[in-house]
């Protein structure tokens, strides 16, 4: 029970600190779940993100469900998922009830211009971290570049990128090019 509560609170913290959707969550998730609580390694986090990309639902929620299940089974999955959505539920309800024009307030716009620039820096740092733990050889580097070009420059849906990479991984494995 205590571990479940701890899980709920940790993921609620992650939920509060995530501005701007799934990927912005990565740096915070890395800090809280990998460095602090050691509930997953950063390689596992990449695995979960990969699966979360090509399964239905929100990536942030999918990742929380994964980590919860891995540590505490189905109750853990529910606790982590409930935790990650709890803050937005409360915050959005308050905004919907009291602040219809929240996003148009000048003060809010200025604050978020600053926040976005910081989040950009945090995500760049996350890219460096996950490059180090995800790219181990030349094949990996080629996949990394291809994924970036396809999704980032050509606007191909990440679902197809993930499915393509999965196939490349299986073929590379067949050819004995996987480094364990």
């Amino acid at each position: 029970m205590r571990k479940l509560l701890e899980m709920f609170i940790t993921f609620a913290k992650v939920g509060v600190m995530t501005f701007g959707g799934g990927y912005a969550m990565l740096p915070i998730l890395e800090r809280e779940v990998v460095s602090n609580k050691k509930w997953a390694t950063s390689e596992e986090l990449l695995n979960y993100f990969a699966v979360g990309q090509c399964t239905p639902g929100i990536i942030a929620v999918n990742t929380a469900t994964f980590i919860g299940y891995k540590n505490k089974g189905v109750p853990g999955a529910v606790a982590a998922t409930a935790g990650v959505i709890f803050p937005s539920l409360i915050i959005i309800m308050l905004i919907a009830a009291f602040l219809q024009n929240f996003a148009e307030i000048e003060f809010v716009q200025h604050a978020f211009a600053g926040v976005r620039a910081v989040v950009a820096a945090l995500i760049i740092q996350a890219v460096v971290k996950f490059f180090k733990s995800g790219v181990k050889d030349v094949t990996g580097f080629v996949i990394f570049i291809l994924a970036f070009v396809l999704a980032g420059l050509l606007g191909i849906s990440s679902v197809y990128v993930v499915i393509g990479a999965l196939i490349v991984g299986l073929i590379a494995g067949r050819l004995g090019r996987c480094k364990e």
Partner: protein, 190 residues
């Protein structure tokens, strides 16, 4: 009855929207076409702006907001639970499978290809965030002046944060501290 409908609509969205928060958008637009009394296209634009300036996953924010306008606090909860439930079930099944087959060669090979791809996708996401937060590409393509490539204030904040992030004695500082500082600096300089 409305609550049941709300649950059903968001359950469907959660089941079929693959690829994260923005993937829910087409479903939400479709919803507003079928239930104009729930939310208008204008409401959706507002929701996107609100979602970008509040914490939390965008899809959840959308569901909570729509749920609230349709049926108050209870509506919020019902819409959000509806949205999350399908992926909760699907991920638990996949996680169970993964745990069992973690040592399986094919699974290992699949992840060997997936990990660098996800790193690449994160790099692509970083580019998108840079485009919104720091770069001013419209201005650049109009003037072709290299000085118009980025918003100088945002660029300064971004570079300063990066430098701080890589300073050894500051490694222990939690990212939220930088985010809060960013908010304060944003209010002060813009």
């Amino acid at each position: 009855m409305t609550y049941l409908l709300l649950f059903y609509e968001f359950f469907k969205t959660g089941l079929f929207a693959v690829g994260g928060g923005l993937a829910t958008l087409p479903f939400i637009y479709d919803m507003s076409a079928r239930y104009p009394e729930w939310l208008s296209v204008n409401d959706i634009s507002n929701m996107i702006a609100v979602s970008e300036s509040t914490p939390g996953p965008m899809g959840v924010n959308m569901a909570t907001y729509t749920g609230y306008t349709v049926g108050g606090a209870l509506g919020s909860v019902i819409a959000t639970v509806g949205l999350v439930l399908p992926s909760l079930v699907i991920i638990v099944i996949i996680a169970k499978f993964l745990q069992k087959f973690q040592e399986n060669k094919l699974v290992k090979h699949a992840f060997y290809g997936l990990r660098p791809a996800v790193a690449g996708l994160i790099a692509a996401a970083a580019l998108q965030v840079m485009k919104v937060a720091v770069l001013t590409l419209d201005k650049f393509s109009e003037t072709h002046n290299i000085l118009n490539l980025a918003d100088p204030k945002a660029l300064l904040i971004c570079i300063a944060t990066l430098i701080l992030l890589y300073l050894k004695p500051l490694k222990k500082i939690h990212p939220i501290v930088y985010i809060l500082c960013g908010a304060v600096i944003g209010v002060l300089i813009y």
